[in-house]
């Protein structure tokens, strides 16, 4: 359940950014999550809602963009998306490749701010 730690990092980062924009609250955050990042989406959503309570992110939506794994195929001289993370080999020519170009992302992509309601 390291998703709880990840959610805490997300909320801390988003809170820091939101604090630079007075009178705003965070309506949504968008993450990019690679297939190799070992993050379970449902666990992350559950944790996110918990951690948002009592922060400027209370009620914020969580958007997750899944990033599939791509490797560089030296034989084809091309970046190839893997159909499965059980085999790190070019899906076209079959050459093994450990040269990962995408799929390890665990990024906070953007934050959506709206004006906070007046008290």
């Amino acid at each position: 359940m390291h998703e709880l730690s990840i959610a805490t990092y997300v909320v801390d980062l988003a809170t820091q950014h939101a604090s630079q924009h007075e009178g705003s609250r965070v309506a949504a955050v968008t993450l990019r999550v690679g297939s190799l990042s070992c993050v379970h989406e449902a666990a992350l959503r559950f944790s996110f809602d918990l951690v948002c309570e009592g922060t400027p992110l209370k009620g914020a939506e969580l958007h997750i963009v899944a990033v599939p794994v791509s490797v560089w195929c030296a034989a084809c001289q091309a970046e190839r998306e893997l159909p499965s993370i059980q085999r790190f080999a070019c899906p076209v020519c079959g050459a093994p490749s450990a040269d990962i170009r995408a799929g390890r992302e665990l990024d906070l992509e953007s934050i959506e701010l709206v004006e906070a309601a007046l008290p």
Binding site: H2, A27, H63, A66, R87, D107, E112
Partner: protein, 236 residues
């Protein structure tokens, strides 16, 4: 990335009168940990200490493997130390201390992985420049430690013959971040009907070209090869 696909992307319609602003942040979520780990790595390199992070499931035999490694290094006169992470108890630290190396226990009290700041806090007072090797035995878990950089020079993924040959296929994320794999409890190969060639093929499938050692901390089988590799890594 053009081939990214959204899992769920319901766009939020803000209430009337509110215009949403999108802040493009584009930052690593674990930036705080990554930055600390980077600083620690620089400090380790400047001190000339090789830091090895051991990751596996609970019960793979990390502690037995590390105890044997530490014992051999201590006997060879190498200055070594270790920190070991567990949810509760200092049992592992006590077992490892029998090697003669200084050992500290990190108790995470429920947290399923080590983070860079926990390691840093437990190194206080140790003169890193007097050490040749520092081992970090992570919390037994094949998933959660994957994303946390601890500033290590080498990450070792371990699996035991009792866990089955397909462990690398089930946990490709961890095997993919490792520099070397160690198959432990090789003395139980026959009892477990463990297919060594298949296990190696599965490691090769998820991490082409990765070095694999087959060891038994109990009988000492394969430990010489691992120690030689470690010594070379320590000199590189």
């Amino acid at each position: 990335m053009s081939h990214s696909r959204p899992i769920r992307s319901s766009s939020v319609q803000p209430p009337r009168g509110q215009s949403p602003r999108i802040l493009e942040v584009r930052t690593k979520i674990l930036k705080k940990n990554d930055e600390l780990a980077r600083a620690m790595r620089a400090e380790f390199e400047a001190a000339g200490v090789v830091v090895v992070n051991l990751v596996s499931s609970p019960g793979t035999g990390k502690t037995a493997f590390l105890k044997e490694t530490l014992t051999r290094l201590v006997k060879a006169g190498e200055p070594v130390a270790a920190v070991v992470g567990d949810l509760e108890t200092d049992n592992d630290a006590q077992r490892l201390a029998a090697s003669g190396a200084p050992v500290r226990q990190i108790m995470t009290h429920g947290l399923c992985h080590l983070e860079a700041d926990m390691v840093k806090a437990h190194l206080e007072g140790w003169d890193l420049s007097s050490l040749r090797y520092l081992f970090i035995e992570n919390v037994g878990n094949l998933v959660c430690p994957t994303s946390w950089d601890l500033g290590e020079s080498l990450r070792v993924a371990l699996l035991s013959v009792t866990e089955g040959e397909d462990k690398p296929l089930k946990y490709p994320g961890l095997f993919n971040t490792a520099d070397v794999a160690v198959i432990t409890k090789i003395d139980l190969t026959e009892a477990c009907d463990f297919n060594r060639a298949l296990a190696r093929a599965n490691i090769e499938a998820v991490r082409p070209g990765m070095r694999v050692f087959e060891t038994s901390a109990k009988t000492g089988a394969g430990m010489d090869g691992w120690m030689e590799w470690l010594t070379r890594a320590g000199q590189a």
